[in-house]
């Protein structure tokens, strides 16, 4: 009840002209950024962080959340109309959205997708409001061993899920990210590591330029390298769906919302995995699985509900643990630090009102997304016609100025460029980049907490498995690591066969 009061307080705080104005332009910009292949939610938030860093925290974070919600939704437009997901989060949307558009149902596909995104976002924010305080209170019991275990678990699970074909590459990316965080002055003895006598490097690698490089510059090279996109002329009919057409999928909506939120809340995993997991669940429990991939509204709504529900989910660990659920959430976390908001286990003690203020921000962004998503559909399609040759140089100019703007240092432009090239090479060789970024964030947590833990216990690592929360995290990490090993899968298969086979035989 107290939480509800704080939520309404937060919401009332945004009922003024400037806040509503910011919601509208930032969400609309987010939709456009999401629509354009090559511009991702992460890049949009990273660039907007540089544009908003002189604003008060409450307005700046509101704008960034609107960009986030708008971009994750906006990617569905190009997925439906071009068969090219605007952001990686909309890849599953294209599976059924595009066949629907090709069959002449582009309008209704956009309408159903928008409604799914809206409902998913609402489910996500509900979980955000309920679970953040619970996890925040639980996290108050976290000590050095738990934080160390959580940092390792974060990069391992992120590596596992963002590189399902070859998790080894995901883990390598994650540990490389942890190493990047070691560069510069460390936080216990103020010793400068791996700076090679460079004054700039001794300050460490700043997250925002690194992320602008990894998610912005590398994407520009990839977009320019790939084939030109062909826009298909599609007639857009009625957009607003009939309530009956939405509510007949109520089970899918609730299931996808819950899956989206929970997958989103896993460190470093994100909206793209959430929508695929939800899509698979929906297909497996569907009465018409044969329609999936050929233009199923159920498939479309499952993907779009999940990716927007994941937005709320990704913010849960940001607020409660200061660990991001996805790459865009990582930038959001960095932006909060820039604005002197300190998310983490102490947030429910120090500033619980900020948690509910964030819920109010997601709510405002969700309403903005639905209103804007349902209007100006035909006009916005023209944005997709902007050729990459004209768009990409301007995006790069923004990457350069964005990397430079926060600290006004030319060095940060170099960081952006180097990380962009690293990101491009990684993507070319099938290494996921999200664990790298998560590693950069978790590196400091890992460094301080491992050394503190060793000092406290005089080098005894046993508490890692004798403290209950730490043990659970360690077991989850071990399970994540071995679950991809062929011998483990074989063993699990045999165990499953032994149990279910016995039932089948007795039946």
């Amino acid at each position: 009840m107290h939480g509800l009061v704080m939520f309404f307080d937060g919401l009332m705080g945004y009922m003024n002209f400037w806040s509503i104005f910011h919601v509208l332009w930032a969400t609309q910009l987010g939709i456009i950024v999401g629509m354009l292949p090559g511009l991702t939610a992460t890049m949009g938030i990273a660039l907007l962080t540089t544009l908003t860093f002189k604003m008060p925290a409450s307005q700046a974070v509101l704008i960034l959340i609107c960009m986030y919600v708008g971009a994750i939704y906006g990617g569905s437009r190009s997925a439906i109309l071009l068969n090219i997901p605007g952001t990686p989060a909309n890849a599953a949307t294209a599976m059924d959205g595009h066949p629907l558009a090709r069959s002449g149902f582009a309008g209704s596909a956009i309408g159903i997708g928008t409604t799914g995104s809206f409902l998913g976002s609402l489910i996500g924010l509900l979980f955000l409001a309920v679970f953040t305080p619970l996890i925040g209170n639980l996290a108050l019991n976290f000590q050095s061993f738990e934080f160390f275990a959580l940092a390792i678990f974060g990069v391992v699970i992120s590596g596992n899920l963002t590189a399902p074909k070859d998790p080894l590459k995901g883990w390598i990316a994650g540990f490389l990210g942890l190493f990047v965080a070691m560069i510069g002055m460390e936080g216990i003895h103020a010793h400068v590591r791996f700076a090679f006598n460079s004054v700039e490097l001794s300050g460490g690698i700043d997250l925002i330029p690194a992320m602008v490089g990894v998610f912005g510059f590398s994407e520009i090279i990839s977009v320019m390298k790939n084939q030109k996109l062909e826009v298909i002329e599609t007639e857009i009919n009625r957009v607003f769906p009939k309530p009956r057409d939405v509510f007949k999928h109520w089970k899918t909506i609730i299931r996808s919302g819950v899956i989206g939120t929970f997958v989103g809340a896993i460190p470093g995993v994100g909206e793209d995995i959430a929508s695929w997991v939800s899509y698979d669940f929906a297909k497996n429990s569907s009465k018409e699985p044969e329609k999936y991939g050929k233009g199923s509204y159920e498939g479309l709504i499952s993907a779009e509900t999940a990716n927007n529900a994941a937005v709320g989910g990704t913010i849960i660990p940001v607020l409660a643990l200061a660990i991001p659920g996805s790459a865009p959430a990582a930038v959001l976390l960095a932006a909060m630090f820039i604005h002197n908001v300190r998310p983490g286990p102490l947030i429910m003690m120090e500033s619980p009102e900020f948690v509910y203020q964030t819920v109010a921000m997601v709510f405002m962004a969700t309403i903005g997304m639905y209103v804007l998503g349902m209007s100006m559909v035909k006009g916005l399609v023209k944005v997709l016609l902007v050729p990459r040759e004209k768009l990409m140089p301007i995006v790069f100019v923004l990457c350069v100025v964005g990397a430079y703007a926060i600290h006004s240092r030319i060095f940060e432009i170099g960081v952006m460029v180097v990380f962009g090239l690293i990101g491009f090479m990684m993507k070319e060789m099938d290494y996921p980049v999200a664990p790298l970024v998560l590693g950069i964030i978790l590196g400091d947590i890992l460094d301080k907490n491992l050394r503190r833990a060793l000092v406290i216990t005089d080098g005894n690592m046993l508490p890692l498995i004798t403290r209950p929360i730490s043990l659970i995290i360690v077991l989850l990490t071990v399970f994540t690591l071995v679950s991809k090993m062929p011998w483990f899968r074989k063993m699990m298969g045999q165990a499953k066969e032994a149990v279910f086979g016995a039932f089948k035989r007795s039946g």
């Binding site: 320019m224 390298k225 301007i394 790069f396 100019v397 006004s408 460029v417």
Partner: protein
């Protein structure tokens, strides 16, 4: 990169990673132990990077063994293949993009006034990537004119917004 060439890429990247992890471990071991400050030996600065170096090394070793099993060590690099790789349209576009962006980010920004550097970059980028050899001269001129117009507008807007609205002292 196609699936067939992935073991070769893995072979090379695992060797690079092994070298990297070895360097990290050596540098971590050689890091000061801060004995003069009576620092607890379990909290010395090199302990965590050393641990990370070892883990990356183990992963790289697993990848190396895997790529060798998949015969990724047979790189088959020869002059003809290298030439064929570098004349691919997609590779040329990627190299062109990297070259232009590096010249702008490392060569122009900070050396020329920001507005001029940005104008030159946007104009060159659009001009080069929209160039079609078979276009009639009139169309070529029109494309260049549009490129110049876009370069003027975008560089002016970005400069004005950051300099006057966000009060950033641009390089």
């Amino acid at each position: 990169m196609n699936e067939k060439d992935m073991p070769k890429a893995d072979f090379i990247s695992s060797l690079v990673l092994l070298g990297f992890s070895l360097s990290v471990v050596v540098m971590s071991i050689n890091m000061p132990r801060l004995e003069n400050r009576e620092v607890n030996p379990l909290s010395v600065p090199g302990i965590v990077p050393g641990f990370l170096g070892v883990v990356i090394g183990i992963f790289a070793l697993i990848m190396l063994v895997r790529s060798i099993r998949q015969r990724g060590y047979i790189l088959e690099i020869n002059a003809e293949k290298t030439r064929a790789f570098f004349i691919k349209d997609s590779i040329l576009r990627a190299i062109g993009t990297i070259a232009l962006t590096l010249v702008y980010a490392w060569g122009l920004v900070g050396r020329l006034p920001y507005l001029l550097a940005t104008f030159l970059f946007v104009f060159a980028f659009i001009g080069i990537f929209e160039y079609e050899k078979n276009d009639p001269p009139k169309r070529k001129k029109k494309k260049l004119l549009i490129a110049a117009l876009m370069a003027i507008i975008s560089s002016a807007i970005v400069t004005a917004v950051f300099r006057y609205l966000f009060l950033v002292s641009l390089p």
